[in-house]
Symmetry: C2
Subunit: 359 residues, 2 copies
């Protein structure tokens, strides 16, 4: 079992990474003192992992609430069903939510915890690679709006994150690959040595080698923890974690959140960020080729040909990083180092959009 | 013009109280640096006060969004219409909401500001007495849920409060009286000299005397500011501000939020808290008579005969102050001093419920 912590003063919390943690009663006792719990999950995850978690939760009073699976259900309506479940179980401020599932479950359940009775505790128990390395860590919660992804939400830190590597063995291969897009993101934005390691270890990761996955999750969380601790509410460098995401969100919004997995859209977004960075003279064509080849080896898409440049730009201007009407983009000053730019040449941006999203 | 401030470290903000502040451009320039603004209001208030506010907002880019009037519309659905308006106006994190109206407008608009893009700035411009002395101050925002009032919400402090006393002249008398219930609450829970002053000045307040209203708003805000500064997120003494509210919320919930004004339900709640306090030996019958007489002189109700004790108790157990299954009530240790109790004798509570809410 690996252990690290997110250093946020009174809102600090631990992340535990390892195989078989779901049923670890002693660990759950430490992370979750609350006796009354609502587990938010979905039917697929519940079938696979709820029995182990219930063993871990021991003699607590537990109610389970399933929400529909998929980004298309990350809505205010789904959120409202969680409020109904919390009220029906007569839970109060001293109760906690446990979010058992992927990014959708974690984001919506975390947002419910942020709003119910103006804020109750919650524990993140991510069961997808994407959630373990990204969405479960850092306190961003929320739902989508027709005008944009995660447009409605709150910063609400969990009281802990429990990343059980064993759950990744039950992931559909497509979801494992989507999670690898976020892992690759950390190498690109914060640690070129980790990027090297990923190029060497990709086959082991794809084969669900436990030690490789544990290291990948841990290193990703470390990079994220460092950035979040320095800028919890995204006034500055936390925006770097959105490398590839302004492009990726636009792909998801333009296609209605059901065609693309989040990580797949991010994969294309990472390559677009690399491409635009090379047009601006910061990366070499070789660097871009390296990114593309790693994404391809991971089985991830590298173009969004049918979306269209104009439509992508429309959604990009609704992005939360827009400031004073200027589009701000996270780009790569070199492999392993990202920077936030609001002065990107419109012609070069358009060239990248056209190349990857079509006319 | 009076001026005080809520001392909350980096979240501190000023409250301005006076006649004619809505159109004060210099003041608004200081309170609201944002250039892009969504004004949330309702049709009645817009007709009366929007023109003055628009003069005050000067050359900003302003969009106006009306929500339906009344507590019954303090819902997630209404909240969603504000998100739609924010997105349609393409507002970003650097925009602000201005809440122009009573408690419903302020609570819903403030909650929208808390959630949109995970939090944008907002200015409270309360136009009812109740909102000026209570709901606009202290950062509690939220909406109702069928299972309870304000069950869904956030702590999100405004960047300022602008209480224009002149707007109170346009209030229906019933709403002015409802606001006086909250003013009387401050005397009861925090300052017996203010209670004396209210007994002497009630006729001037009911006649909308400007100086009397300005003092009443200022003194109420001072008492609230002191308590909120000491306990922003209601871990302890902030709960004292809920004097009369556990009973009052139950009346509102049981009657579906359309029959009673919030302040009217609080008035009955204040008297019930006084009655129960006297049953516990803390107040004299004379004290209770004094509270009842002041409420009656203010034209406020002093019983909720048709609600029923059992139904009230049911809603009271959903209250946010319930902890470890124990009902916590704010009672009066003497006139001018409240205290939070979780050890109230069930028989005595039931006697109070029966006396004021019927069997």
């Amino acid at each position: 079992m690996q252990h690290l912590s997110i250093d946020l003063g009174t809102r600090s919390y631990p992340i535990y990474i390892g195989a078989g943690l779901l049923a670890d009663r002693a660990l759950l006792e430490r992370l979750l003192p609350q006796r009354n719990v609502l587990v938010v999950t979905n039917d697929t995850i519940a079938r696979l992992h709820l029995p182990a978690l219930l063993r871990g939760l021991g003699d607590r009073s537990v109610t389970t609430h399933s929400i529909p699976d998929g980004e298309a259900f990350k809505t205010l309506d789904t959120l409202d069903t969680i409020f109904d479940a919390l009220a029906a179980a007569k839970l109060h401020r001293d109760a906690a939510i446990v979010a058992l599932g992927g990014g959708v479950v974690g984001d919506v359940a975390g947002f419910a915890a942020a709003c119910y009775q103006r804020g109750i505790a919650y524990l993140q128990v991510p069961t997808t690679l994407l959630a373990q390395v990204d969405s479960a860590v850092g306190g961003k919660t929320g739902v989508n709006h027709p005008a944009g992804k995660n447009l409605i939400g709150a910063f609400h830190q969990p009281s802990g994150v429990l990343a059980d590597i064993a759950t990744l063995r039950t992931l559909p291969p497509r979801e494992l690959r989507a999670g690898l897009a976020e892992v690759i993101k950390y190498g690109l934005l914060g640690d070129v040595a980790f990027l090297d390691w990923l190029e060497h270890s990709l086959d082991q990761l794809l084969a669900c080698d436990e030690a490789a996955l544990e290291f990948a999750v841990r290193r990703s969380c470390e990079i994220k923890a460092r950035i979040v601790a320095a800028d919890e509410r995204e006034h500055g460098q936390r925006a770097l974690l959105n490398l590839g995401h302004t492009f990726g969100h636009a792909i998801e919004s333009a296609t209605g959140y059901h065609e693309w997995l989040h990580g797949e859209a991010v994969a294309v977004g990472l390559l677009m960020a690399a491409d635009l960075s090379s047009r601006l003279g910061w990366l070499t064509a070789g660097d871009v080729g390296r990114v593309k080849s790693l994404l391809e080896r991971a089985g991830l898409p590298t173009s969004a040909a049918r979306v269209g440049a104009a439509r992508m730009l429309e959604f990009m201007t609704m992005d939360k990083k827009v400031q004073d009407g200027r589009l701000r983009l996270v780009l790569l000053s070199r492999l392993g180092e990202a920077s936030l730019r609001s002065d990107v040449d419109a012609t070069k941006l358009h060239a990248t959009l056209q190349q990857f999203a079509g006319p």
